[in-house]
Chain length 350, copies 2
């Protein structure tokens, strides 16, 4: 693009500066923040063209669109921050349709007084996450609200992607007899955030599992084809909420084996300490798939061959159940119903 020299008189003081209301007012200060921080970090032609929207070519086919707001507290936690989370989380929602993510948009709502150094770190983390995932952040927006009217920064990202021809995953597609596959350990993200929030220390630090899952998904689609019924990433509300939602949408129940669900020992210990059940704790780099029985083995093999699916496991199956219950057979042979989360167990976990 034939962009002229920048019309800014002073360099943005990223080291010591703070966001003020002028950075959201549509004038020179906002233009400078966008140019020096966002456009510089996200670095792509569509963004630097300086339009209020990004334009891109598409082929005939099926697309998906998804959005998520990120309000995680604290903003920085072991294994990630709100920036990487806002990229991974939305990529994953695109990927759960079996789709290949293409482009992201980002809307920032920033509290007056927020340190530009923190904003720069978050934006850098978003840029790195997007680069690693080969997804471009092509358009965005910045608003600033008065001190005390937000909490640091909130980020809403939206993703679009393309669905491979013939694939049609949907929450209402689970059928009795289908197998349930989980891509790895649960609870890591929620416990990483909680431990930081509560100032807990463990012998081994628990890291968020925040990761972009579209590579794993592509491998599963290649292996499972039409045998893949649906995929979900169990974020807020954990595996329990996700499977209850699917049960309601598909009109089925689930029977899970507790012993088959991978949980790291230190996450298990932290959950006991905090009075939490790992089934309800958020994940940001895991998926659960419902697969037709004759395709389950092939999909599981493909998952275990991918770096983000090394601990993948079959954890149970779909059953006919007019009550749409998610049932768990415990390690001691008993059973219990895994209900929806009914309170606010872990606010602002993502």
């Amino acid at each position: 693009m034939n962009r002229p020299e920048k019309p800014f008189r002073r360099k943005l003081d990223i080291k010591n500066g703070r966001v003020d209301l002028s950075h959201g007012a549509g004038g020179r200060a906002m233009a400078q923040l966008v140019a020096d921080l966002f456009v510089a970090a996200f670095d792509n032609d569509m963004l630097s063209a300086g339009n209020d929207q990004a334009a891109f070519d598409v082929s005939e086919g099926r697309m998906v669109m998804t959005t998520d707001g990120y309000v995680v507290s604290p903003l920085f936690f072991p294994g990630g921050d709100i920036g990487s989370l806002s990229v991974h989380g939305t990529i994953n929602d695109v990927a759960m349709a079996g789709a290949r993510p293409l482009y992201l948009s980002a809307s920032f709502i920033i509290e007056e007084g927020f340190a530009l150094s923190d904003l720069s770190r978050i934006v850098g983390s978003m840029a790195a996450a997007a680069r690693d995932a080969r997804v471009k952040i092509v358009t965005g927006d910045t608003k600033v609200v008065e001190r005390g009217k937000a909490d640091g920064v909130f980020i809403s990202t939206t993703g679009v992607g393309v669905v491979p021809e013939g694939l049609n995953l949907s929450a209402d597609a689970a059928r009795p007899g289908d197998k349930v596959l989980l891509s790895g350990t649960i609870g890591d993200h929620g416990i990483a955030v909680m431990s930081k929030r509560e100032n807990l220390t463990f012998d081994t630090e628990i890291l968020s599992d925040s990761a972009a899952l579209h590579g794993l998904v592509a491998a599963m689609v290649a292996a499972g084809g039409p045998g893949l019924r649906l995929m979900r990433d169990p974020t807020r509300g954990g595996l329990a909420a996700t499977l209850n939602e699917v049960a309601a949408s598909s009109g089925v129940g689930f029977k899970l084996e507790e012993a088959a669900i991978p949980v790291r020992p230190q996450v298990h210990a932290a959950c006991e300490f905090l009075g939490l059940d790992p089934l309800y704790v958020a994940n940001e780099g895991k998926l659960v798939a419902v697969v037709a029985p004759d395709h389950a083995e092939a999909v599981l093999t493909a998952m275990r061959a991918h770096p983000l699916g090394l601990d993948a496991a079959p954890i149970g199956e779909v059953v006919a159940d007019d009550n749409r219950f998610v049932q768990l057979t415990t390690a001691f042979g008993g059973g219990r119903i895994v209900d929806w989360l009914s309170g606010d167990q872990l606010p602002r976990i993502c």
Copy 2:
């Protein structure tokens, strides 16, 4: 969709209820809020399918994607509210590429304690705006933060649309000699919000101009074809910010006639009273177009034939200027430079 009966025991108390942290926690309360409020109001198959993403078919071609965060204060103002604004504003950013808007996503960040009746009113207003514009809100997200960590509700919407073949509007496309056309009066939205915020009353109430401009845009594209260089909606920072941005992107200057720029008398009076310059005040239902000279008349005629362009006017032209100045010839024959807004004249105007 084959959705089973809802798994909620009590009806959502929209009249007296308030949003609490459980409405953002991923459990039953959130599922109920989504089903009874959002899905019911936005009412379309893609949303009610209950997936974390919306899927739709596209033809081969060029698409645009745009996002905006809305933090307007107060939430309700003469002529609109944050809900209608969040639909109109994002549709307009899609439309400024000459594109036909197709789908919107919506991310809500809500403060604990926010009245469900207000949320319902806002969501109803979004639904009505989307329906009137024939654009579907197909996916969304809800987060709740603790009391005092947000300000009622913030909404980020993202829009996608398709660009007519052969059309390529861009901020860097203005050329010396091009004409500048404005679709109507400026300053209405900003003054409507400010008057509510400052509790000002005028003889005639000033209403926000908030409106979806894609119909007007389609008429302009049909009339102007390749003669249309670019369009912009002068929101935050007003016409001054918009034209300074275009001047920087295209490497040109602008010469405007002050007397040609339509301003309602009561907006003019309010601006004098508040110490504001209408050139810097936000609009939410106006556009400015840069058009090749031999197409300007046809585009202007098309604008004036549309209900949202009745007051359309030619207000000046693009000039060669290495300084990229926006210059104004005043009604008294003098001249001044319309610089970027340098402070935070009107925070939270959109």
